[in-house]
């Protein structure tokens, strides 16, 4: 399953902190760096291509239906 934006951002934050927290072997660091850059790219792509999420309303019948605000 594809990561959500939030999951990716959280992972990114964890890796950045991990890398800054001490000396990491170069191989591991490069691996993590690559992973982190992928996550950063994923996040910013998500933001760029973010189409408006459909807003829902809970009806009295207990169903979720699309909801559009009247501007």
């Amino acid at each position: 399953m594809e990561k959500t934006f939030e999951e990716a951002l959280n992972e990114l934050e964890i890796i950045v902190k991990e890398m800054e927290s001490g000396t990491i072997e170069l191989d591991t660091a490069i691996e993590k760096y690559t992973e982190a850059m992928k996550l950063a790219k994923f996040c910013s792509e998500k933001l760029k291509t973010a189409t408006d999420k459909v807003n829902k309303i809970l009806t009295e019948q207990g169903e979720l239906k699309d909801f559009e605000i009247e501007e």
Partner: protein, 405 residues
């Protein structure tokens, strides 16, 4: 003629008795506004009740005033219960107030204060109970009226700032009959969905309009919600009970949406920060490793591998020198000892003694060291260092005797 006249006291007492015997005046219910309010030092309250056209003096004695659950003030609208009578000394009629409560808003205000105090003491406002609001919510629940400014403000703000976020609207009455139950029910309903945060509120209005958010049932629904709730009731500076119980209080519906979601710009900045930090970190890491590597490469040993042997050679030489010295010393010591030994040997060698001029005397091939065995005319052999002598004894004597020669 004089009998026609009565004095003032008599008149006022008569009037007072008419008041006191009127059953309609024995208990009256009035509503009006307080003015000229005076709190006498002895605890009795004196004031005027008025409406737009008329006024009436009022007194509330201490034994009744002590039961008041609010502090009367000028301009306050009140509902009073009491009897009308006359105060003969002044010739004025007035109401003797037995009960008084605030009318309308005032009443609500007291209820509000009471409930606030109660819920506060029960811990519903405790900071320790407040849940953190997630930074990047995926799904937001909105509990408000499905029409009107509040829902529009909230949804358009979310859409503008953080369009990748989903919303679910839980429509509810926000004022009037059934509003409080409706709000409480929708909060419970919203807790059945995997929401990250709930915005609960409505736009501004009069204190009566906002009243549902001051109700205990709503307060408890907010308190019991597992999902963090941002309250957004009315507009600053109205503070409802819901605002106190909520995990976060927003001044307006728009404000609530701003608190619930970050802006894309904020996230982009954060992402950029992360990338900068990552780049810096990996660069440092590579650099550090490079420097270490260079240091190793430049090390004396790696640059001059022969040096490894040079030092060893030198050491070897040193050891050999040392060994030689030890052996030399040993040999010299031995030689010295040998010389001493030789010298000692020389001293005890009889031949050596002869060399110094001593002689051996033998008779019949027996060494003689005592003249007892010797007689005159005996033939003796004398052995010198070099050569031998055969001699005839002419005299035998001891050291103390003088020889003949």
């Amino acid at each position: 003629m004089e009998e026609k006249y009565i004095n003032i006291t008599e008149l006022n007492n008569y009037i007072k008795s008419r008041f006191d015997n009127d059953e309609f005046l024995f208990k009256v219910y009035l509503k009006g506004e307080i003015s000229n309010f005076k709190n006498h030092t002895r605890g009795h309250l004196y004031f005027t009740l008025k409406d737009d056209n008329s006024r009436l003096s009022a007194v509330m004695f201490y034994n009744n005033a002590m039961n008041l659950n609010f502090k009367p003030e000028d301009g306050m609208n009140v509902l009073v219960e009491g009897r009308i009578s006359c105060y003969p000394a002044q010739g004025s009629y007035q109401i003797y107030v037995e009960k008084m409560e605030t009318d309308g808003l005032g009443n609500l205000y007291i209820e509000y204060e009471k409930l606030k105090k109660k819920l506060e003491s029960l811990g519903l406002f405790d900071v320790s109970h407040k849940k953190p609001i997630p930074k990047f919510p995926k799904k937001i629940g909105i509990i408000t009226a499905s029409t009107g400014a509040a829902v529009r403000d909230i949804m358009s703000t979310i859409k503008r700032r953080f369009p990748i976020c989903e919303t679910i609207l839980f429509p509810t009455l926000v004022q009037g009959d059934g509003a409080k139950e409706n709000i409480a029910r929708q909060i419970k309903k919203a807790n059945e969905y995997d929401l990250d945060v709930i915005i609960c509120g409505r736009g501004g209005g009069s204190i009566e309009d906002l009243w549902a958010f001051n109700e205990e049932v709503v307060a408890y629904a907010i308190y019991e919600s597992k999902i963090p709730i941002i309250s957004a009731v009315g507009h600053e500076p109205d503070f409802t009970i819901a605002d106190y119980v909520a995990d976060l209080r927003a001044p307006t519906p728009t404000g609530a949406a701003e608190m619930a979601v970050p802006t894309v710009l904020e996230i982009n900045n954060l992402l950029n920060q992360y990338v900068i930090r990552l780049n810096k970190n990996i660069k440092n890491n590579v650099n550090n490793n490079f420097i270490r590597l260079r240091n190793f490469k430049n090390s004396y040993v790696l640059k001059n591998p022969l040096a490894l042997y040079e030092t060893k050679e030198q050491k070897l030489d040193n050891y050999i020198d040392l060994l030689n010295k030890i052996i030399d010393k040993n040999i010299k010591e031995k030689e010295h000892k040998y010389e001493i030994l030789i010298n000692t040997l020389k001293l005890v060698n009889p031949l050596c003694i002869l060399e110094k001029g001593y002689s051996l005397v033998k008779k019949d091939n027996k060494l003689i060291n005592n003249n007892d065995d010797i007689k005159v005319k005996d033939i003796i052999d004398i052995k010198l260092y070099k050569g031998n002598i055969k001699a005839e004894v002419r005299e035998v004597y001891n050291d103390e005797q003088k020889g003949i020669n």
